[in-house]
């Protein structure tokens, strides 16, 4: 599927702001599941833009505006072709035991997904060693979707996972962290993915960046599971990057001086054609 | 040689705050003493002082009354008054803390001791008739501080910034004193001998408040003549607290700074030179009678120099 994404972030300040530094993670990843046809980053006012590849392989852009300004716009435009994602091959859960070191990063606790008995907390039945792993993961996705309620007002960026667990109301960030907690506890390497969703209006989380989980299946590799929409991450999911958790992939973060109480406006448009 | 903008700013403000503390202490002392003998006319002797330091509204709000006691407390110890002696010393010390590794330890210790003595007092001082001592202590401490600075601080750029702050504050302060006194001169009342005597007393207070009484008498053999006093305090080139002297020394300090960064900030020097020229060639009659230049304008000139210093050295980038 061909997707065109426009992601616009605008800041308006009542008083001049200066020394604005921004780290932008909006460049879609180049992987087997998608091809990036083009990517452009526009910034108003003129800014110095550099980039580097971060620890998780994402291309990070640095936008720096030194002079005083009352308006800052960062606009990313991307053209991405997503490819069909085949169903995963069956593999028993027990195969996970054979995994060697390279997946430790996505098995250990991280600040927003701390150690805990998440399977118990979210009432997930542990799989038996002989159970089929992809099936289990799909069931888990469904289970979490049914359990949680999508509510944009219930949580904030810093709401701890334990608190979300108590009421189960939140957004894709929370749903994804929950899935990561369960998967990691059960020894399934799992990572947080930030990206876009082409919804054509029917799926939740569109018109914004989206988050889902990727789990590692021996024999298949990393596969995306979207607990917010109870589905695999296939052609409608455009991936930007992955990390241990939200803070590794936050789309735009920055600092600035002055400015007073600024206003933030974000617009995401995802167009698609088969 | 390098000087961080922040440190230059600290030194500049130490100069201003310590000078402010000293000036306020002098003024307060003199006016308090004078007002003791004026009974019903106390208000007149206090008004200008309040105008000088501002804050009558806050004073009234906080103390509920405007009298010798409340004014003294407000100007001396009250930390809610940003221009009180205590506040000035407090700010000076705060600025000095950041400089501890660069100023001689005696300078810091002197300031710190002053802080401990002066900033923790309250109206009890007035109750035990201790205002005179309090003010003298503050004034002496300021002079001691500048004395140590003069003796031990290397004559580098930092020194010039402190001196610039001190001189800016001095000129500014003297202009305000003259402004408030000048406003309250009532030429008509001079006909009446009693009124005349009161006026004279007030002008004597002005002189004493600037530690200028003896110097004036030596220099100007005429009696208490407001015009001559005004001239002395504004334009005398030898009296170290005159406005002209302050402007000249301010200019010298800025010229020194310019030597470290030749030609980098011509605006600063230009404004300082302009101010000096005005004062070198002015006649007191023009200033006091015809408002040409008016005292207000001169005050404005001083402030413009201050703003230019800030923009040039402290605020860039």
């Amino acid at each position: 599927m061909r997707c065109e994404i426009r992601h616009t972030t605008e800041y308006r300040y009542p008083k001049p702001a200066w020394d604005s530094f921004n780290e932008v993670r909006l460049h879609p990843s180049s992987e087997a599941r998608q091809t990036v046809r083009s990517f452009h980053l526009h910034v108003e006012p003129e800014a110095a833009i550099t980039s580097h590849k971060d620890y998780f392989g994402a291309l990070v852009h640095h936008v720096h505006v030194h002079e005083a300004h009352t308006f800052l716009k960062i606009e990313a435009e991307a053209l991405v072709d997503t490819h069909p994602v085949p169903d995963p091959a069956p593999v028993p859960v027990a195969e996970l035991r054979g995994l060697r070191g390279g997946y430790t990063e996505f098995l250990v606790p991280s600040p927003r997904v701390p150690a805990g008995d998440w399977a118990e907390v979210f009432e997930v039945k542990r799989p038996a060693p002989g159970d089929d792993l992809p099936t289990f993961l799909m069931d888990l996705t469904t289970h979490l979707r049914r359990r949680f309620t999508y509510d944009t007002q219930a949580t904030a960026v810093h709401t701890p996972l334990a608190e979300f667990a108590r009421h189960g109301r939140g957004v894709c960030q929370d749903f994804t962290h929950a899935m990561l907690g369960v998967a990691r506890q059960l020894g399934i390497p799992a990572r947080y993915v930030s990206g876009y969703l082409y919804s054509g209006g029917s799926l939740l989380g569109a018109e914004a960046t989206h988050a889902w989980a990727e789990c590692f299946l021996p024999g298949t590799g990393w596969l995306g599971y979207d607990p917010t929409n109870d589905c695999l991450a296939r052609e409608r999911h455009v991936k930007i990057g992955h990390g241990r958790e939200y803070s590794d992939v936050s789309p735009v973060r920055g600092t600035y001086y002055g400015g007073g109480r600024g206003e933030l406006d974000v617009e995401v448009r995802v167009y698609g054609e088969q | 040689m390098l000087l961080l903008s922040r440190l230059a700013e600290n030194l500049f403000w130490i100069g201003r705050y310590v000078e402010r503390a000293e000036n306020t202490a002098r003024l307060l002392n003199v006016n308090y003493s004078a007002s003791l003998e004026m009974a019903g006319r106390a208000r007149e002797s206090w008004r200008p002082l309040l105008e000088l330091t501002g804050g009558e509204a806050q004073l009234r709000a906080k103390y509920g009354r405007v009298d010798a006691r409340s004014i003294s407390a407000w100007l001396a110890f009250d930390r809610d008054n940003p221009s009180s002696i205590a506040s000035s010393v407090l700010h000076a010390r705060e600025n000095a803390r950041g400089l501890r590794d660069r100023i001689p330890s005696e300078m810091w210790e002197a300031l710190n001791r002053t802080y401990l003595n002066v900033c923790f007092q309250d109206e009890a001082v007035l109750a035990r008739d201790g205002l005179f001592e309090y003010c003298v202590e503050a004034r002496d401490a300021a002079q001691f501080f500048f004395g140590i600075a003069f003796a031990t601080l290397p004559r580098d750029e930092g020194w010039s910034f402190m001196r610039a702050g001190q001189m800016l504050e001095r000129g500014d302060n003297m202009l305000r004193v003259l402004q408030s006194r000048h406003r309250s001169v009532d030429t008509q009342a001079l006909a009446d001998p009693k009124q005349r005597a009161l006026q004279d007393l007030r002008w004597v207070s002005v002189l004493k408040g600037a530690s200028a009484y003896e110097a004036y008498r030596k220099r100007v053999h005429v009696g208490i003549d407001p015009i001559r006093i005004g001239e002395f305090l504004l334009l005398d080139e030898f009296f170290p607290r005159s406005v002209r002297y302050s402007a000249e020394n301010l200019h010298d300090a800025l010229a020194q700074i310019d030597r470290w960064h030749p030609g980098a900030h011509p605006e600063v020097l230009r404004l300082a030179r302009w101010l000096v020229a005005r004062l070198q060639y002015a006649r007191v009659a023009d200033i006091l009678d015809e408002d040409n230049p008016a005292l207000e304008e001169l005050l404005g000139d001083f402030n413009r120099v201050g703003a230019a210093i800030d923009a040039a050295f402290f605020q860039q980038e």
Partner: protein, 592 residues
């Protein structure tokens, strides 16, 4: 000056039979000649000297700004040449291994791939900074300035208690102590062959300059500011090196470089000796609420246009759990046997060791791996049942975050107590300062900290600790008035025969030098406990007194100053966070 040292603790000056060790004879004689009254008089002079020099610290929270001098005891701690040579070689080995480890961890992590250290320990360390992974540092140096805490156990063996690789402090006290001592007690030094320490700041400056990306680069010292308890040291070092002392707000990033705000305009900065923790260095990359750092600094660092000492991310190697593996690092990277051993350490992360820790809590000292300054500790033998239970709950909840060690009885040293006019033994430790450049340079001696409260093992300054001058002699035996050269090889008074390498000054110690133990002569078994094996160097059943290690920085860690809402503070945001705080569109932004 004499007392019965007893046989419970190792005494630095006296042997078990009460004889003075050869390297202390000079000091013994001098003090004996002095007499207590004179000693007391000079003690007061010392305090005055410190005060005049400004070697004081402001007690946190004291609005009056009263300053205290650091308690200082004038009886110097003496280390003979041979002993020092051993320490030097061991420390050199250790820091080389630590630097190799850091290089490895922030690139290919071969040591993890080879399974020498569990990768979980590294990946879950709060100080493992993925943001600087892959950054090339000058000369492969990650940690330039190391403060390693050494203690001496009951048998007189030196053990490493911990390495401090982020912002070790205290060297200014070391320098000030020596200066005060030479002024007040010049006679004590005569003919003793004490090696000088004053080169430290010269060597430090040379080291900092050597890592500059540009030639003749500008070096600055970055301090959190005057409210930090170690501020005196930051200012002192900057002044001694002749470089600027800056705070975060004096710097800014533009055009890919770091600049200083001066009255002459912007000035480029090439090397930052930072005494600010990673977390507060750059609000863009790390804690957004930090007002102590410089926005955009890390990106300049990534691009190689500014050097930072110690480098970002060194904290992963002084994590208390990783500490247990340093001997393995020495073997892995250097192919050598560690010359200095660790204190035996149990890791909560390891299930078998965790079991042992929980079962024997009453005999162990527990530490939280992330904490500094003696916080988060449990002293098993001295805690109540309740305290132990409460603490163990935390351990069970988060075992990776805790380690435990048997209590080690620190060595003792004669210390003057003015209230009794007597010399009594007090517990001491030692923190040498290691400069890691092309060569490794170690100040002879280091800071000896002494627990001044009677019977206490707490050497931490904020809890009644003080310090002593530390002497490294250029010989092993007693001094004679004529000088040292004939005593080059010691005179057979039972000390080790290893040679010191040089007379005056200090230079690098070559690697691979086999050293025999100085006292006791026991070969020490491996201190690190991996794979469930526990080898102990001393019997564990004896009840020892407390030990408490000091912090990274001598005092509480730098606090993040809260910035006011509007300028001159700064705003940070992650997009959603900003959306929460700012007025504006109610449209759901980002991935929420």
């Amino acid at each position: 000056m004499r007392y019965e040292p007893g046989n419970r603790f190792f005494d630095e000056m006296f042997t078990q039979s009460g004889n003075v060790r050869p390297h202390y004879q000079g000091v013994q004689e001098y003090i004996g000649q002095q007499g207590v009254a004179e000693f007391e008089r000079r003690h007061r002079l010392l305090d005055l000297a410190f005060r005049n020099q400004g070697i004081t610290f402001t007690v946190y929270g004291d609005a009056l700004g009263t300053e205290r001098t650091f308690p200082f005891d004038p009886v110097p701690r003496v280390i003979p040449a041979g002993e020092w040579a051993h320490l030097e070689a061991g420390l050199t080995q250790r820091v080389r291994a630590l630097n190799a480890f850091l290089n490895d961890i922030y690139s290919d992590a071969q040591i993890l791939g080879d399974g020498v250290i569990p990768s979980e320990l590294v990946y879950t360390s709060a100080h493992f900074r993925r943001e600087v992974h892959g950054v090339k540092v000058s000369q492969g140096l990650y940690t330039h300035i190391v403060g390693t805490d050494l203690i001496r156990n009951e048998l007189g063996e030196y053990l490493v208690l911990e390495d401090n690789l982020r912002s070790p402090s205290g060297v200014s006290y070391l320098l000030a102590n020596r200066q005060a001592m030479t002024r007040i007690y010049p006679g004590m030094f005569e003919g003793q062959g004490v090696r000088p320490v004053g080169h430290y700041t010269t060597a430090l400056l040379a080291l900092l300059q050597s890592v500059s990306p540009r030639e003749n680069g500008t070096v600055v010292v970055l301090t959190p500011g005057m409210y930090n308890s170690a501020y005196f040291e930051h200012a002192y070092l900057a002044q001694q090196m002749g470089v600027e002392l800056v705070e975060g707000r004096d710097l800014f990033v533009d055009a890919g470089r770091v600049w200083m705000r001066t009255t002459g305009g912007r000035q480029q900065v090439d090397v930052i000796y930072r005494r600010v923790d990673d977390d507060f260095l750059d609000p863009l990359t790390f804690r957004p609420d930090s007002a102590l750092g410089v926005a955009g600094l890390v990106e300049v660092y990534r691009q190689g246009r500014v050097a930072i000492a110690n480098a970002i991310g060194t904290g992963v190697a002084d994590d208390k759990a990783v500490y247990a593996y340093v001997p393995d690092m020495i073997r892995y990277y250097l192919n050598e046997t560690p010359l200095l051993n660790n204190v035996p350490t149990y890791l909560g992360w390891n299930p078998d060791q965790l079991e042992y820790m929980l079962a024997n809590a009453g005999d162990l000292v527990f530490k939280a791996v992330g904490e500094a300054g003696g916080y988060g500790m449990l002293l098993g033998p001295y805690a109540t049942r309740e305290e132990v239970d409460t603490y163990l709950e935390k351990v069970r909840a988060n075992p990776r975050e805790f380690i435990a060690q048997p209590v080690v009885g620190l060595s003792r040293h004669p210390t003057f107590y003015p209230d009794t006019g007597e010399f009594e033994p007090a517990h001491v430790d030692l923190r040498p300062y290691i400069l890691c450049g092309q060569d490794v340079t170690i100040v002879p001696g280091g800071l000896t900290r002494v627990a001044l409260r009677r019977g206490s093992l707490v050497v931490n300054s904020s809890q009644g600790g003080g310090s002593k001058d530390t002497w490294v002699l250029d010989h092993d035996g007693p001094a004679t008035p004529q000088g040292m050269s004939q005593l080059w090889h010691g005179d057979g008074l039972g000390q080790s025969q290893t040679q010191s390498q040089y007379q005056g000054g200090f230079g690098s110690a070559p690697l691979g030098q086999g050293q025999s133990q100085t006292q006791g002569g026991q070969s020490q078994s491996q201190s690190q406990l991996g794979g469930g094996n526990q080898t102990q160097s001393q019997s564990q059943s004896r009840r020892y007194d407390r030990v408490q290690a000091d912090a990274q920085d001598w005092g509480t860690p730098p606090e993040a100053a809260s910035s006011p809402e509007d300028a001159p503070g700064q705003h940070s945001f992650q997009q959603e966070l900003a959306k929460d705080e700012l007025g504006g569109d109610s449209r759901a932004g980002e991935d929420r």
